[in-house]
């Protein structure tokens, strides 16, 4: 409690300078709240998200001889590896989809999810000084990590579309692809939100994720098709939410493709659930992040 000294006296007022009008009229009220982040706050974070995303993207290619050439080289190398691994083992039943297109669709969805999870889930830890010492909105870091993974995705996804067009299998449903991307974005943002906010308190997330992601790739029909699996393995793979997205994208791209409706339904439900949980976990942990990071 205050004691001993009075506050400013009348004589002092004449010597003190005038006050300036506010640069920013916002009034911030801090109380012991469990949650303070609102959806509309995130919607106004466009500028800082774009600066952070371009930083995350640029930093990848700093002091690099090839720089952005890696954007093209990496998916090509991966594609070749998948072609050798799966094609080498035998014919994959792709129901009329050229194998390269078939694989590129799977690769684009999976590599986007993997890259986003890798950058996004550690984003609050790598930006710990911002989290602790600046008023920068925390939700901008994981979102920027996801956005920074988009350029690499666009390269692979475009290759798939061009491949489908060149081989003459392209469907008019390709116009639905933006919704397909939005679907993957929502699922990814939800998962990144959960992982990033838990990693602030529990570093176990950082240990578990690379393992989960490297195992996860085997449980997504990237280089193989669902049709070639045993009923049990097929169910396991269909439970992976990325599987439904890959199946839906192939259906959007290729006229003759018949997707697994089980996988699509599972993925839609999981996407909604993960998005809601992701938001709740993130916004619930956001107020104490500076205290426990």
């Amino acid at each position: 409690m205050t004691q001993g000294y009075s506050t400013t006296s009348a004589t002092e007022t004449s010597t003190t300078p005038a006050f300036a009008p506010l640069v920013d009229p916002t009034v911030r009220t801090a109380t012991p709240a469990k949650r303070r982040l609102r959806v509309r706050d995130v919607l106004t974070q466009g500028p800082i998200i774009s600066v952070l995303a371009s930083r995350d993207f640029k930093v990848k290619y700093k002091q690099s001889l090839l720089g952005p050439v890696w954007l093209v080289f990496q998916p090509v190398a991966l594609l070749v590896a998948f072609l050798v691994a799966f094609r080498g083992l035998g014919k994959v039943a792709t129901s009329g989809v050229p194998y390269v297109v078939f694989t590129l669709v799977g690769l684009s969805a999976w590599t986007f999810f993997q890259a986003s999870m890798t950058i996004g889930s550690s984003s609050l830890l790598t930006n710990a000084t911002f989290v602790r010492y600046t008023p920068c909105p925390r939700s901008a870091f994981p979102i920027a990590g996801v956005i920074a993974s988009l350029p690499a995705f666009v390269v692979t996804a475009l290759a798939a579309v061009v491949g489908a067009a060149v081989t003459g299998v392209l469907s008019v449903r390709v116009l639905l692809l933006p919704f397909g991307l939005l679907w993957l974005l929502i699922l990814t943002l939800g998962a990144v939100g959960i992982a990033a906010s838990l990693a602030v308190r529990y570093r176990d997330v950082i240990q578990a994720l690379p393992f989960l992601l490297s195992v996860g790739v085997f449980f997504a029909p990237i280089g193989y098709s669902l049709a070639g699996l045993s009923p049990f393995m097929r169910t396991v793979v269909e439970l992976n939410p990325i599987t439904g997205i890959i199946e839906a994208w192939r259906w959007m791209l290729v006229a003759s493709y018949r997707p697994s409706m089980t996988a699509v339904t599972v993925s839609l439900v999981v996407t909604v659930v993960v998005a809601i949980i992701g938001w709740r976990v993130f916004s619930g942990r956001e107020p104490t992040m500076a205290d426990v990071i």
């Binding site: 409690m1 205050t2 004691q3 001993g4 000294y5 009075s6 506050t7 400013t8 002092e12 007022t13 003190t16 300078p17 005038a18 006050f19 300036a20 506010l22 640069v23 920013d24 009229p25 916002t26 009034v27 911030r28 009220t29 801090a30 109380t31 012991p32 709240a33 303070r36 500028p47 800082i48 600066v51 952070l52 930083r55 640029k58 930093v59 700093k62 002091q63 930006n127 000084t129 911002f130 989290v131 602790r132 010492y133 600046t134 008023p135 920068c136 901008a140 308190r201 529990y202 570093r203 107020p287 104490t288 500076a290 205290d291 426990v292």
Partner: protein, 256 residues
Amino acid sequence: MGALHEHGDRPVAVTAAGIGKHYDLGELENLRRTLRKLTRRDTARPPGLEALSDVDFTIWRGEAVAFLGTNGSGKSTLLQLLTGTTLPTRGVMQVHGRVLPLLAVGLGFHPELTGHENVLLFASSLGIDRATIEARMDDVTAFAELDRHMDTPVKRYSSGMVSRLSFAIAVQFPADIYIFDEVLAVVDGEFQERCLAEIKRLHAGGRTVIFVSHHHHQVIDVCERALWLDRGRLVAEGPAGEVTAAYEQALHASAA
């Protein structure tokens, strides 16, 4: 705002009422603790620390105010609350306008990014729009004396260059409340003088300045008013000269 908060003709910049902040002590998570929780042998709350208790104060817009106190008195926690990086455990704090904090030098710089890119990043993180940032860039560069280095990655800067860039950002962008936490100690004499002059210029321009320094002549030079914190409690507030003198006396008394 409104009539309730008027002080003469000045509106408030910050109001704090009954502010308390609790921290858990010790390691937050480890294997031993997990096992004890699983076997239900550890139901007690971890030991805690009241970094702040029952702190009330008002800072008027356009004022320059210092926080005095030894290490562990709660100054940094209070500045974090003002910045908005954490919430109080008890009480209500209201902050009017944009806060530009300099809580430590070089914070938030990415070593691989250039000086220019880092200024853009840091200023954007405060909510300043791109056009304003680009418009102020020349002033930032000039103040930091880094005109030939703005396109060089910050990892190749000397520590002096990093501090100069930090300060340039902290004083050259428009904000309503500027916070400086013991940062003048890291820069050399001539630049320190320029920083002090710049902080006084902000204050003269009617901006609110919150200043923490262990150099009490700087406190008296910059601030009109001082608030003295001791073990998380506000023990005195008043004209900077008087409170600083009383604080120094108490320091000497406890040392003797």
